[in-house]
Amino acid sequence: MIQIKLDLEPERQAPYAAALARLRDVEVTTGRGHALITTKVGESSLPTLLDQPEITPPELLSSLAGASIMPAHPWRFSPSIHPLEESRSSGQLGEAGLLRVHHWLIANTAPEHIAFSQVDLAHWFFGAPPTHTHGLSRANYLQVHLGFAKGGMALLDLATNRPGPDNYYSLHLIGSRGAAYSDDHRNAHLLFGEEGPRALIHQGNQLLAMQTMLTEFLAGIREKRPWSVRLQDTIDALATVKEVAHV
């Protein structure tokens, strides 16, 4: 039984607790525990899942090389992303050529904030940070255009503070032997109400992503192996976002 301490603000603690409740041989503790989930770094030698690593200064992250820390990159574990990466990494899609993302949020947050996760996906799929970057910024809007070695490319369309009731996400990954599509448009249901038809988009990804991410965190601890996400991944994604968004 692995005991995990949650050192988080209440609004962040709830989804982690809900996801941990779905897993075997793990429990939340208020004591020291065997592992820690927190947004603070450098305060524990326990195996740590660093929540929201993108808000930690990159210089501080760089100083933590060798520490037992898995940065939380939940998008890598999303139900709509995980199968694509499995297909890519197994070679089914061939060599990755193009990643396209449309990500629109109703939340009034900075587009650079949501860029972190999508840029990280691009780095992940292409195996390294880009060789070329280009950004287009407008109010509540950021377009990220990346070029990778061997001709790979990513074009990310990111908008925040959007009108309407739902977020929207669309991703496709085109490889030399095939392509993968993960798309809210394709998956939308239709509701016919008094004000006319509207799309219904399933929003169940977050908890499942967290559950899968925690499974990887716990497996790394049990198997005494490096986690699949490294602090360097966070540092690289932050560097690319900084370059394209000029922040």
Partner: protein
């Protein structure tokens, strides 16, 4: 009062015949002949002769003579000849229907724009702007449903092969002959840019999505950043032309845009390919699938090459020719005229330059 039937001369028909077929299908137009220059290669004459026989019209190996007996020309030649043939027709006072792309060279596009203006003829460059999904997008935008347009994105992929895959050429094999490969493509459906000059996907098909963006944004592209690569096809690799590209667009009215385009291989999509528009407005957003409306048909022993989702209610060809008839009848402009197609060619040229240099490039206005 009976309406004028416009007499159309087909100037070279060396690739797919969708263009003269569309003209012939409209009741306001009548094909009168196919014509080409006498010094064209034998395969050109064979294609022209075959189409003329199928259409029941003569094939004339004398463009100047043929131009005397028509109201308009339909240019369906190799891309590198589009402008030259169109300019000759414009100077003879003939209206123009020209296949896409207008030309791989911007200077030729500029010359055509001048010829069209000086001779006061109408020009329609072929496009897909009147597909049902595009009409829906335009109507939604014009109704104010999403407010003023802020960003527009197009994903445009043809899931077609184009000969052997990249990496399949042996060390002693010669490079694939571009023209021979394109001529073969008629047989297996992997058609691309017919002609002597190798063209990438951005140059061949880029006019379609860029025309969508031009029509919906109602403002010219001023600056681009692009990446291109040869990811799929050996013929493209041998001739150093792209089959996959991404383009960021800055538009004069302050909108931003982007384009992803590629000939991504038949295995990459169950139908002709994912083609979508994403529009962001001040009051809402719009996601449009260019293929819809469509119907789905699945059956035992269905041929692997048969699309299971088929477009329906597609009146693009008829509506384009109706648009052209209206332009001739009422001295109006066409939905994609020579200037508009020229501006798209300028965007493509800037994108290729950007991809080559790794920097953002201003379009030439």
């Amino acid at each position: 009062m009976s309406e004028t039937i416009y007499r159309a001369l087909v100037l070279s028909v060396v690739k797919h015949s969708y263009l003269p077929d569309a003209v012939a299908a409209h009741p306001r137009f009548q094909l009168v002949a196919v014509a080409d220059d006498p010094d064209r290669p034998a395969w050109t004459h064979e294609h022209n002769q075959l189409y003329a026989e199928q259409a029941g019209i003569p094939y004339l190996r004398d463009v100047a003579t043929a131009l005397k007996d028509c109201d308009l020309v339909v240019v369906s030649s190799e891309a590198e000849r589009h402008c030259e043939l169109a300019i000759r027709a414009a100077m003879a006072g003939k209206h123009l229907v020209v296949d896409k792309p207008l030309s791989p060279r911007l200077s030729e596009c500029d010359a055509l724009v001048r010829a069209v203006a000086e001779n006061k003829v109408k020009c329609l460059v072929w496009n897909r702007n009147l597909l049902p999904a595009l009409l829906d997008a335009r109507a939604a935008l014009q109704s104010g449903a999403i407010g003023s347009l802020q960003a527009i994105h197009c994903d445009f992929y043809f899931s077609k092969d184009a000969g052997p895959p990249k990496g399949s050429r042996g060390p002693d094999d010669p490079p694939i002959n571009w023209l021979a490969r394109q001529l073969e493509a008629h047989a297996d459906g992997s058609d691309g840019g017919v002609g002597l000059e190798a063209l990438g996907e951005l140059q061949i098909e880029g006019i379609y999505p860029l025309a969508y963006i031009q029509m919906l944004a109602q403002s010219p592209v001023t600056r681009v950043f692009a990446r291109t690569t040869t990811h799929f096809h050996q013929a493209n690799a041998d001739h150093e032309v792209d089959d996959l590209a991404t383009v960021s667009l800055e538009i004069a009215n302050g909108c931003v845009g982007s384009l992803c385009i590629g000939r991504i291989g038949a295995a990459a999509h169950p139908d002709i390919g994912e083609i979508k528009l994403h529009l962001l407005g001040s009051k809402g957003s719009l996601v449009i699938s260019e293929a819809r409306p469509e119907v789905a048909i699945y059956a035992r022993n269905q041929p692997a090459t048969e699309f299971k989702h088929r477009r329906v209610a597609d009146e693009n060809n008829y509506l384009l020719m109706q648009n052209f008839a209206d332009a001739l009848d009422h001295d109006r402009d066409t939905i994609l005229n020579a200037q508009g197609a020229r501006d798209i060619a300028a965007t493509v040229q800037a994108a290729l330059e950007s991809a080559r240099t790794g920097t953002a490039i201003a379009t030439i206005s």
